[in-house]
């Protein structure tokens, strides 16, 4: 009779504080170079210790350079933040995967791939895309600096219980349509606040058939749907993904864990506060046109007209977005020239993302005048990709092959799109100024970004990738 979310929640309630708010235990806390140092200094200022340093893991990702042979000094952000990050994590006894660590990478890529994040866990991080890690069946959500300090000091948080929502996705995805396209399609239809106040469970046959890496991408954009938490129930695919990861349990602990994890799935008669059905067979490759992830259309669609907006507030937002993006109503999105292509971020920087992009670019060339980058999500992803020769596929085509970090997703490290220039990006936010002041961002899947790099214009991958199937 219970949803998975309700089962996992019940297992973490230390005490109930009111009808809708509980004090909950946190199994795992990740911290990065932007959110960590501030909260750790707050802790020091208040004279508090870190209560459970063994449950916190630190990774520099936001401000680090992605250049080969990078150091702290390579970016102003890392020169400022990394020495503090090192000092504070060391003082508190927190394991840091430093810039030169073989496991360094983007927090939300590294958590699941090291087996640090496991099904049924409560996972938090001072980062809105913590929901990504729900892809392995954890309840994972982003928190603010004040809450980070609270977790460091007590390993617990007072949280208002969100209502469970089911996004039921059924049907087979067409060729060259990915998890990224499915979630953008959902947000475009339901709005950027469609999930507000809810904890999302993604289910249905499409999700069951998705790889764990695709599920991580799906859960990543939960934040862009207005919700803090999104998850996929763990199944055999999850267990085989996690087995033998460096931090995964082994032996009898593994067996006991799997038995527990199997019990977490939502009961057949569980009640969700809301259910939304998505027909996966109707999803085409998606591209955003505006300044919200909800401003997304199929790649063969046209830029909408504010005259057709559902209300005047939306019409005004669309007009501002059109002006910022330098687009006009009725214009096809396909064929729009781009100067920058970014394949990376906690949305789309895992091995499968890079493989799908490499399949499109293999043997071809990046168009003249286009700066195309691949930024693997972690050192582990980078090593695996290099073992498969993907780095050579990309560099032979004219892509830059970079070191792991958040990079052009939020540009804190200086990896920016210059004012007025246009990028197609596999990241998750096309907000005003997100990739740099006056930068124009189009969100898309790795395959669509790769195809666009080859033509120098936003391109329907289904046209150019016929030979790869």
């Amino acid at each position: 009779m219970r949803t998975m979310f309700e089962k996992v929640w019940a297992d973490h309630v230390v005490t109930s504080l009111s009808a809708d708010t509980d004090l909950v235990w946190i199994d795992r806390h990740f911290t990065h170079d932007l959110s960590g140092p501030f909260s750790m200094r707050s802790l020091e200022k208040r004279g508090l210790a870190c209560r459970h340093p063994e449950l916190t893991f630190a990774l520099p990702d936001h401000g680090v350079s992605t250049s080969p042979a990078r150091t702290d000094a390579s970016t102003p952000a890392s020169a400022k933040m990394l020495p503090v990050f090192r000092r504070t994590t060391s003082a508190l006894g927190i394991r840091l995967f430093d810039l030169d660590d073989k496991y360094q990478g983007i927090v939300h890529v590294v958590g699941p791939e090291l087996g640090l994040t496991l099904p049924g866990m409560f996972v938090v991080c001072g980062d809105s895309h913590t929901c990504t890690q729900g892809g392995v069946g954890a309840v994972a959500w982003g928190i603010g600096n004040t809450e980070v300090t609270q977790v460091l000091a007590t390993q617990a948080l007072n949280v208002q219980r969100p209502a469970p929502m089911l996004i039921r996705i059924d049907g087979e995805l067409a060729a060259h349509v990915s998890a990224k396209d499915v979630i953008l399609h959902l947000i475009a239809r339901q709005g950027a606040d469609g999930g507000s106040g809810h904890a999302i469970e993604y289910g249905g046959s499409t999700v069951r058939d998705m790889s764990v890496e695709a599920r991580l991408t799906l859960c990543n954009l939960t934040a862009e749907f207005g919700a803090a938490m999104g998850l996929v129930a763990p199944d055999d695919a999850t267990f085989s993904y996690l087995e033998d990861r460096p931090y995964s349990p082994t032996g009898s602990r593994w067996t006991a864990a799997v038995e527990y994890w199997r019990s977490l799935s939502s009961d057949a008669d569980a009640m969700f506060a809301r259910t939304i059905d998505v027909d996966a067979t109707a999803v085409a490759p998606q591209v955003s046109w505006g300044t919200s992830p909800a401003h997304t259309i199929p790649v063969d669609g046209i830029v909408p007209d504010p005259a057709d907006a559902p209300d005047s507030a939306t019409a005004r937002v669309w007009m501002a977005a059109l002006a910022y993006m330098d687009l006009r109503p009725g214009q096809p999105i396909e064929g729009l020239p781009v100067q920058h292509v970014f394949i990376g971020s906690c949305t789309n920087s895992r091995l499968e993302d890079l493989e799908s992009a490499a399949a499109v670019v293999r043997g071809a060339r990046v168009a003249d005048g286009v700066r195309a980058w691949v930024v693997p999500g972690s050192q582990s992803v980078k090593r695996q990709a290099e073992r498969r020769g993907l780095d050579e596929v990309f560099t032979a085509a004219g892509f830059a092959w970079r070191e792991p970090g958040c990079s052009m997703c939020m540009s804190m490290n200086g990896d920016i799109v210059p004012p007025g220039e246009r990028s197609i990006s596999t990241s998750n936010r096309n907000f005003v100024g997100r990739q740099g002041t006056a930068a124009r961002t189009h969100l898309a899947s790795p395959e669509t970004a790769a195809a666009s790099a080859l033509t120098g214009t936003i391109t329907d991958v289904r046209r150019v990738a016929g030979r790869t199937g």
Partner: protein
């Protein structure tokens, strides 16, 4: 100990910001987070051109709203990044209450952690409040009566989770409250971890040498 100023009643003109989906990158752009000037430069893309000149339609330029302690705005306010600087900037500008049809979940939570009331009201009520704010009516939010009233005659009852209402009225700091429950938390942890030993991370050295 570091509580917040108690909030029981706020009465002032209300700054109308009738734009949907203002994200936290707009409230505090990353360059301003990094250089520490996020209060002075809050809402920078709405107020300044890319070359730094003030925008002719800067919504914050209207002197009637100087000193306003209430911000009334569009749906999905504070969506996007979890950066708490967005709340610190709004608080630094003098706002103690933000009213919208909906909020980004993390932003809303961050508001309450900082003693700022993020008040969700039905769309029609927000539209009416925006109109009254625009005409310069005084808006009053009362946490005793749980009412929003205006000098223009509006009266809108609202609800708030009891815990959040108490925390705002008493200026409670969540960390202080949680610290007092440390023994309870540790008792829970002992049992929770005994039942789920895999939660305690143990690196497998074989993999480290691989």
């Amino acid at each position: 100990m570091s509580g917040h100023a108690p909030l029981t009643r706020v009465s002032s003109r209300a700054m109308p910001l009738d734009i949907d989906s203002i994200d936290t990158d707009v409230i505090t752009p990353m360059p301003r987070v990094m250089d520490g000037t996020y209060v002075e430069h809050a809402f920078e893309p709405l107020r300044f051109e890319d070359d730094g000149r003030p925008k002719p339609d800067d919504p914050f330029a209207d002197a009637r709203f100087t000193g306003a302690e209430i911000l009334v705005t569009g749906a999905n306010f504070g969506c996007g990044s979890s950066r708490e600087t967005a709340v610190w900037a709004i608080k630094g500008m003098g706002y103690r209450v933000v009213i919208a049809e909906s909020f980004g979940d993390i932003f809303s939570s961050n508001c309450f952690k900082n003693g700022v009331l993020a008040l969700r009201l039905p769309r029609d009520d927000v539209r009416r409040l925006l109109a009254q704010a625009q005409s310069g009516e005084v808006v009053t939010i009362d946490l005793d009566d749980m009412l929003v009233t205006t000098s223009g005659g509006l009266s809108i009852p609202f609800q708030l989770p009891e815990l959040r209402r108490t925390a705002l009225r008493e200026g409670l700091d969540d960390l202080d409250v949680t610290l007092r429950m440390a023994d309870l938390i540790e008792d829970f942890a002992a049992e929770h971890l005994a039942q789920r030993p895999w939660v305690l991370p143990k690196a497998d050295e074989r993999h480290y040498q691989a």
